[in-house]
């Protein structure tokens, strides 16, 4: 690991004010310390934000159907929150199905949504080619690499690395908003707008600018007792998704009044299947409607020989998740 300065920030304002080139925030450290050991992340200075203002950014607060969650809340705390489990189970599911208990105790939800891809060519610096790690160097995955885990949606000819997280799919499905403290003051962005497609600049993963500090996530309408996260993986626990679906439903009789669909394990960024949602809204959740929605969701898929299976797996995961969600009590 390369040397760095370590500093503890006492306040959010202080943390933002001390930002600068080469400086990264450190909270749970589960991504940052791992990638520093691998020499993928090379901060010259870490500002420890894990204990800001005596836990001021560690909270879960309901106001009617609106939910606001502090950025430094641990994954474990949110996953185990009784009210969240009951009123918005998709949020809880997406967390307890992720990582390990130890990591969930350490990782904060703001770092969780910013975790980096598990693409082996990104994580292993002995590969010279990685447009995400070294802009313009090429892509070892597309250049004959092993691509079984790579993305089929939102890819570019520069990068097909999968966005690895689970919780982000739940946030995007529920229209979450990210509250940011930046050097210019506070601002909010839709979670759906935070991550950016790889396109020609895979090294740029979010629209966050230097010094931006996520302070909270808010969901205006989070009351989706009929919601869930379905995760399909090679190993039953402690593994990244091959395909996953975050679903939330509101039914009026047999008619879909509202449906939300986030897809994981298959895309380069947290993925909202808006067109598939639109095809389901106002109709029944029957076999032909679900099949059509799945076709729409994966219509733009680009595959390699090794990851082509993710299209069928992704469709089946999404259909199964919707059917299981429909059977939940509303």
């Amino acid at each position: 690991m390369r040397p760095f300065y370590y500093e503890r920030a006492e306040t959010a304002v202080g943390a933002v004010a001390s930002s600068g080139p080469g400086t990264h925030y450190l909270a749970g450290g589960t991504t940052m310390v791992d990638l520093m050991k691998l020499d993928v992340q090379r901060p010259t200075r870490l500002v420890d934000i894990s204990g800001l203002e005596g836990g001021r950014y560690d909270f879960i607060r309901w106001d009617g159907d609106a939910l606001r969650i502090g950025a430094l809340t641990t994954m474990a705390k949110l996953a185990d929150d009784e009210q969240v489990r009951r009123r918005a189970p998709v949020l809880s599911d997406a967390l307890w199905l992720a990582a390990s208990p130890q990591i969930r105790n350490m990782a904060r939800i703001s770092g969780n949504v910013l975790q980096r891809t598990r693409c082996p060519y990104f994580r292993d610096t002995s590969y010279a080619q990685c447009n995400k790690r070294v802009p313009g160097s090429g892509c070892a995955a597309l250049d004959g690499g092993v691509t079984r885990h790579h993305a089929v949606l939102g890819t570019s000819d520069q990068c097909i690395a999968t966005y690895p997280g689970d919780f982000a799919q739940a946030l995007i499905a529920l229209d979450a908003v990210v509250e940011i403290l930046s050097p210019d003051g506070p601002r909010s962005v839709r979670f759906a707008d935070m991550h950016v497609l790889p396109g020609g600049k895979p090294d740029r993963e979010t629209m966050l600018k230097e010094g931006d500090l996520i302070v909270a996530f808010s969901i205006e309408d989070a009351a989706f007792p009929r919601s869930k996260y379905l995760k399909v993986r090679d190993r039953e626990s402690y593994a990244y998704a091959l395909a996953s679906a975050a679903t939330a439903l509101r039914m009026e009789g047999d008619t879909v009044a509202d449906v939300r669909l986030g897809l994981g394990g298959v895309a380069t960024v947290p993925w909202r299947a808006k067109e598939a949602e639109a095809s389901l809204r106002g109709g029944p959740l029957d076999e032909s409607a679900l099949e059509r929605a799945a076709q729409i969701a994966f219509a733009g898929a680009t595959t390699t020989e090794e990851n082509a299976f993710k299209v069928d797996l992704g469709k089946r995961t999404m259909v199964r998740a919707l059917l299981e969600t429909a059977r939940m009590e509303g």
């Binding site: 040397p3 001390s18 080469g22 450190l26 870490l46 390990s100 208990p101 990591i103 105790n105 402690y238």
Partner: protein
């Protein structure tokens, strides 16, 4: 805090503000900022930084001067000779380094030692008093819940937390909530049995 420490703090902030090569070029050769190179890889990165920390390990205060890069695991094993916590993967994937930080099971390999200041750390060495094994330790012995034993300290620390968290309700739940601890000898069925036995004794 010593004068040296204050100087280091002021210095690091100033360096950052100036940024880049200009800041690095101003590094003093004092006790705090040593002149070792940054591995030769970065022209603008800082040199090795040493800081003073005060840690609470198994109820004892330990004052140390450490490289900022030190993980809690490395400090436990190398500085404090508490070698019960094991280094398996060193990347948070195996759980052999599991300790309790403020009562929460935590991966000491992904925790910077500097971050542990102000917390209470309990390692496998601090789990029981000198004369008696912790119920979880006894359960591991009685259920033959290990073969080579390398993962065992992490399994035991994780098993205790699994029960105190309330996630040891059934075999399936124990397996799910122990999944962060790998055992290459595959003693899993006996580990589940041990956690179940200890759950009864711990009243979980």
């Amino acid at each position: 805090m010593s004068d040296d420490h204050d100087r280091f703090d002021n210095f690091s902030r100033r360096t950052l503000m100036k940024g880049g090569a200009a800041g690095a070029a101003m590094l003093p050769m004092g006790a705090r900022a040593q002149s070792m190179s940054a591995g030769g890889a970065s022209a603008t990165g800082p040199s090795v930084q040493r800081i003073e920390v005060s840690l609470d390990i198994n109820g004892q205060r330990r004052d140390l001067t450490i490289d900022t890069r030190s993980t809690l695991l490395d400090v436990l094993r190398h500085e404090l000779e508490l070698t019960g916590s094991k280094k398996g993967c060193d990347h948070g994937q195996c759980g052999a380094c599991t300790v309790h930080v403020d009562g929460q099971r935590t991966l000491s390999c992904l925790t910077l030692a500097a971050q542990a200041e102000g917390t209470k750390v309990v390692t496998i060495e601090g789990l029981s008093d000198e004369d008696n094994l912790h119920p979880m330790q006894r359960a591991f012995v009685e259920n033959d819940a290990f073969q080579c034993g390398y993962c065992t300290p992490g399994q035991i620390m994780s098993g205790v937390a699994c029960i105190t968290e309330g996630h040891a309700g059934s075999d399936a739940e124990i397996r799910e909530y122990m999944s962060g601890n790998l055992c290459r000898c595959a003693a899993y069925p006996n580990i589940v049995a041990a956690v179940k036995q200890a759950r009864t004794e711990m009243g979980g």
